[in-house]
């Protein structure tokens, strides 16, 4: 009787098995650590008109609410109507080629379709107004848009990300006058401040905030 398997074969088999196990484990860990929704974070999204928040907000100092008018009253913050753009751009840079789609749309010759940067699944009902009212500032989710030439996403917007804050909102709460501060960072006494804001804004406990019906209908 002879050996069925050569020593070379068994060695390879052994090495292969070890490698497969290692790769599988590494893949699982990597997957879980990086598991996200459909997000692509940090990648600027192309737009038909290269609108720069950096220029408009950072350089010109336009307030968020000048364009996103409904952010304090509605679920939807509001994409500015073309006439808002035209308050300045009927005068400024009217001949610049990048603005051509805007003008064409305003004159009814074409449709201007912005590409969504922050897109939640259709079964998620996010409401801007209540987050603003309760002390969650713009930059908490949208980042410092005043530094973004083209807007990109800074957060994954997936459920674990939402849930993390809904379980413990205090670290992300700020006073009402800092809501639109795009460079707000938690002060050293954030623990106490957050607790105080929780009470002041009547923010309910995590059991309420993580109820399924809070976000899904």
């Amino acid at each position: 009787m002879a050996q069925v398997f050569s020593s070379r074969f068994t060695l390879l088999l052994r090495l292969g098995a070890i490698a497969a196990l290692a790769i599988l484990a590494a893949a699982l860990v990597t997957y879980r650590v990086n598991a996200r929704g459909d997000a692509v974070e940090g990648a600027p999204v192309d737009q038909p008109v290269p609108f720069s928040h950096k220029h408009h907000v950072g350089d010109d100092g336009i307030d968020c609410r000048y364009c996103h008018v409904a952010v304090e009253t509605s679920a939807f913050a509001g994409i500015p109507p073309l006439e808002t753009c035209m308050t300045c751009h009927s005068q400024l840079f009217t001949d610049q080629p990048p603005l051509a789609p805007l003008l064409a749309a305003y004159r009814g010759r074409a449709t201007l379709a912005w590409n969504r940067v922050h897109d939640l699944p259709d079964f998620v009902y996010f409401d801007h107004s209540i987050h603003i009212a309760k002390g969650v500032g713009c930059s908490t989710c949208h980042g410092a848009v005043d530094t973004m030439p083209l807007t990109w996403r800074v957060a994954s917007l997936d459920m674990q990300w939402c849930i993390a804050c809904h379980r413990d909102p205090a670290p992300n709460l700020r006073p009402a006058d800092r809501i639109y501060d795009l460079h707000w960072t938690p002060p050293s006494n954030q623990a106490a401040l957050g607790k105080a804001l929780m009470a002041a804004n009547h923010i309910r406990g995590p059991d309420v905030l993580t109820s399924c019906s809070t976000c899904h209908r």
Binding site: V4, F5, R32, A35, Q160
Partner: protein
Amino acid sequence: MTDESALAATPVLAGRYTDASITDKIADIVLVRPAHWGWVAGAFVSGALAILFLVAVSWLFIDGVGIWGVDQPVAWAFAITNFVWWVGIGHAGTFISAFLLLLRQRWRTSVNRFAEAMTIFAVAMAGLMPILHLGRPWFFYWLIPYPDIMNVWPQWRSPLIWDIFAIGTYIIVSLLFWYMGLIADLATLRDAAKKRWQRVVYGLLALGWRGDARHWARFDSAYLLMAGLATPLVISVHSVVSLDFAIGNTPGWHSTIFPPYFVAGALFSGFAMAITLAVPMRRVFHLEAFITERHLDNMAKLMLVCCFIVTYSYLVEIFMAYYSADPFAIAMVENRMGGPYAGVYWAVVLCNVVVPQSLWWAGVRARPVALFAIAIVVNIGMWLERFMIIVTSLNRDFLPSAWHIYVPTFWDFATLLGSIGLFVLLFLGFLRVLPAISIAEMRKLARDVGAER
């Protein structure tokens, strides 16, 4: 050989065999003998049905569970019936291999291997059914706990979650148990095989088994432990399956008798399926010496025992309905016996209560063909029983306004018949690539029997 004592005296191994001749007789089926025409015909028919199964499942995934006849209020029907039926069939295999091992029943030896294979394929069919019946089968893994990005976990109070664990454990333990028993035989095949690829394949599967006595000692210990684990497991599995219904509040489901009722029903159908498979198998592969009338007789007797437990359960259901004076339970019983599905109920009684009574006669038990016929009837009866439990409970429950009939569609039948086809195909494949009877254990049996003579 038609009287009781003669049948009981039939040996569990007919004829005289040496270690070598047993090895050859069993291993040659796999390694040497060309395919028997009966096998080919069976493979052809079951293959065709398996293709039907694939078509049915493909269409199911494309169009949705609406292709079946399920409706409101009968939201479960064929798929779950098939599921319970297949799980039940699996149970006899485990019962034979584990329970009888613990009881040191010698007749177990020549039937346990194929019975375990039957278990695995049946449980595989069963495991498919709940996934197929999901509205969104591609999310079936949400029933398994893992740290997902939704931060949501399974809901542990649901019997369906218990099912996942029960069926999952069951199929894993059955596979391990089966494989453990196979290791020594795989080594035999490795050493007996002439073809290089057979030696490699069986060699890999045999894990380098060399019959070391210390290994045998550990093997015996582990194998016995596995049998000890599999025995309560098999009872728990069908108990959990029964809880899929008993936890529900539907009249006809919500009953404490369900776990033993289901376990007995499972063994009933399982032994019927074992007989269904054994009778043609021993004929086609000339294994009459190994699987003797004694084996068939024992399985038939067990069927008869199960028949009585099942019958008792039927009677208890009726008794409890009237004894409890619960109008919903009474209505359920009367609906079963006289409602739109009364035919199913009475067919169940005929198949599961009346026909098996013929097993009282040794003459019937001694005739493989008769046993085969009865086993088929019981298989059908047990399928219908699950259909009866599921559908005739759901179709008329609490609010008469919601009552609605259930009518199966072509795709319901295609899925059922297709799964049978796939099961048989897998089983036929098993017969050709693995020893259908445990060679190592048969050697020992032959020696023990020889020693007694």
